[in-house]
């Protein structure tokens, strides 16, 4: 600590760079974001509650939170399988598949949206098969679930991969030499060790799904009370120049995602402390 304080005087440019960072941060992020909360503060509680508890808005929360939670669960399960396969097994094309996992990060959401709609539509590559068994994917909550699963997948895989790589082979061997079956080793040794990473990936995927807009609007059909997500409601209020309505709903969604981020930070803090104690 003292050494670092001493070092501080050696390198130049601290005031310049920190000053620039703070000014730029304020101009681009803090002042614009604060406008949201200040705008809400001028609104009055009764008006605020009336907007955010409107039946159509509440229906959109239920849909958004429900589909996001389901999508995060699907991603947790399949993301685990994908991450496990990529870390533990060797097979041809593995490198390519590994690189492809980031596609939902790299592909613009509008493109994902129209592509998924094309595939799952009645005459689409997968949609026509689903149609035969009587499942309607596009313009239904199932479509929203598909889009949210798509955009959330990399979060789970990319947080799990390093955690699985770091696992000590010796602990697994120890468990095995003490007579544990592979399943027992998995449930009692491997799973608890990667649980914080799995939960982090789950939460990140959930948080991303809550605010998603581009990939969902094309596939959902946007029917009020049925397939209208909260982000879309904010946009349609804005299009009617109902700034107060858009702001109030946005504040609710922003607080929800901040809460999840806080939870993720807590998880990572717990995981790092846990690791130090274990070592």
């Amino acid at each position: 600590m003292l050494m670092k304080l001493k070092r501080r005087s050696v390198l130049p440019g601290f005031r310049l760079t920190l000053g620039y960072t703070l000014v730029y941060l304020s101009l681009i992020v803090l002042i614009p974001l604060s406008s949201l909360f200040l705008r809400t503060a001028t609104m009055g509680w009764s008006e605020f509650w009336k907007i955010v508890l409107d039946p159509r808005v509440v229906a959109s929360y239920k849909l958004t939170f429900g589909t996001s939670l389901l999508a995060a669960m699907v991603n947790a399960i399949f993301g685990f399988i994908v991450a496990w396969t990529l870390v533990r097994y060797h097979f041809p094309g593995k490198k390519l598949i590994d690189a492809l996992v980031d596609l939902p990060f790299a592909l613009p959401t509008a493109v994902s949206g129209i592509a998924l709609t094309a595939i799952y539509a009645k005459n689409g590559w997968i949609g026509s098969w689903l149609e035969m068994v009587g499942i309607k994917a596009v313009y239904s909550p199932l479509g929203i679930l598909i889009a949210l699963t798509f955009i959330g997948l990399p979060f789970v895989v990319r947080t799990l991969q390093p955690a699985l790589e770091e696992l000590d082979a010796e602990t697994e061997e120890a468990a095995a030499s003490l007579g544990a079956t592979r399943l027992q080793t998995f449930l009692r040794v491997i799973l608890p060790a990667v649980m914080p990473a799995l939960l982090t990936g789950f939460s990140l995927s959930f948080a991303r799904a809550l605010g998603e807009y581009g990939s969902v609007v094309f596939i959902s059909g946007n029917m009020p009370m049925k397939t209208e997500i909260t982000s879309l409601l904010i946009v349609s209020k804005l299009e009617q120049f109902n700034y107060a309505g858009a702001t109030a709903i946005a504040v609710v969604m922003l607080l929800a995602s901040f809460t999840i981020m806080l939870f993720v930070n807590g998880l990572q803090w717990y995981a790092s402390r846990h690791q130090v104690r274990g070592a």
């Binding site: 949201l36 490198k95 598949i97 592979r182």
Partner: protein, 320 residues
């Protein structure tokens, strides 16, 4: 250090090997599930973009780009990225220099604030700039002052907004290019800083101190020591930032006003064409963005390989 290779050290023993590895059928099931799931969710959507775009042949595909709106959308996308990327680079370098090379109170809080835009959903990222600069916004009122005396001010808020656009006001921010750039800068804000900070923290200040003690000034130290050390991470941040800048939809959609040939980026152009049932043209434009995504993934993989190699080479040079 990555535990795995040591597995081979384990003394043979059939039982041991069985207990630390999954049965073959389970392994096959996992690999099968992975490939099926990723094919359904990643490969098929990507393939469908090109399939739909080329449905009516190459001629129809190329024709989709041969019009004013498509040309302007591509131009605006390039302009937006060209403005927001340098801003991100300068901020990323400044922030990482201050955070990684110095110790000060409130550093972790500052890191949280830098990450903040990642926690804000795209639509809300656009909304905050509408609140700030829109007709009812704080700064919007001030910026709109010259128009206050115009007769159509008495119209409803909505009609007034659109009339003003008709006027082509030079100080427009929302429903104009500056708003699109601002929203893009906001959503791409953390990318470069986030890649640079951990790497520069890891590298410490030894090399910079050596340079300074040998008589280099601050700029020389930065250009000749720090920047070469972080160049691949910087490029990595720029690649990610560029993908988001060119592909951002939600935030840009809220601030753009969707004025064809004026405030449409490629993703917004795709949306308009799609909603007009002009599918081939929509997917043709989308294919440009899909190609960009593939290029991004390739660059990302190459840079990750490069960064990893540098990270593993580093300790060896220290030992030698």
């Amino acid at each position: 250090m990555t535990g795995l290779p040591t597995t081979h050290v384990v003394r043979g023993g059939r039982q041991n090997r069985l207990a630390t590895k999954e049965p073959l059928w389970l392994k096959a099931l996992f690999i099968g599930t992975t490939i099926t799931f990723l094919t359904l969710f990643l490969v098929l959507p990507l393939a469908s973009v090109f399939a739909e775009a080329l449905k009516n042949g190459v001629g129809a595909y190329l024709k989709s780009f041969n019009n004013h709106a498509a040309y302007e959308a591509i131009k605006l996308t390039l302009i937006t990225a060209a403005i927001s990327l340098p801003l991100n680079v300068v901020f990323g370098l400044a922030a990482s220099w201050a955070i990684a090379k110095f110790d000060f109170v409130g550093k972790s809080f500052l890191l949280t604030l830098i990450d903040l835009p990642f926690a804000v959903s795209p639509v809300i990222s656009g909304l905050i700039f509408v609140l700030l600069f829109g007709a009812q916004g704080w700064l919007g009122w001030w910026l709109a002052e010259p128009y206050l005396s115009l007769p159509w001010y008495s119209f409803s808020e909505g009609a007034w907004e659109w009339t003003r656009i008709w006027q082509g006001s030079p100080i427009r921010i929302i429903f104009a290019v500056p708003g699109i750039v601002l929203a893009t800068v906001f959503v791409t804000f953390p990318f470069v800083a986030r890649e640079l900070i951990p790497l520069m923290q890891e590298q410490g200040t030894d090399e910079e101190q050596a340079a300074l003690s040998l008589g280099a000034n601050g700029w020389q130290t930065f250009w000749r020591v720090t920047l070469p050390n972080v160049k691949w991470a910087l490029l990595y941040g720029v690649v990610l930032s560029n993908a988001r800048a060119m592909g951002e939809f939600g935030a840009v959609s809220v601030v753009s006003g969707h004025i064809r040939g004026k405030t449409n980026t490629i993703p917004l152009h795709v949306e308009i064409l799609y909603n007009e049932y002009n599918y081939v043209a929509a997917f043709a434009s989308a294919s440009l963005l899909a190609l960009l995504a593939l290029a991004t993934l390739a660059a990302k993989s190459a840079l990750e390989w490069k960064l990893q190699r540098e990270a593993t080479l580093e300790p060896k040079t220290v030992e030698a």
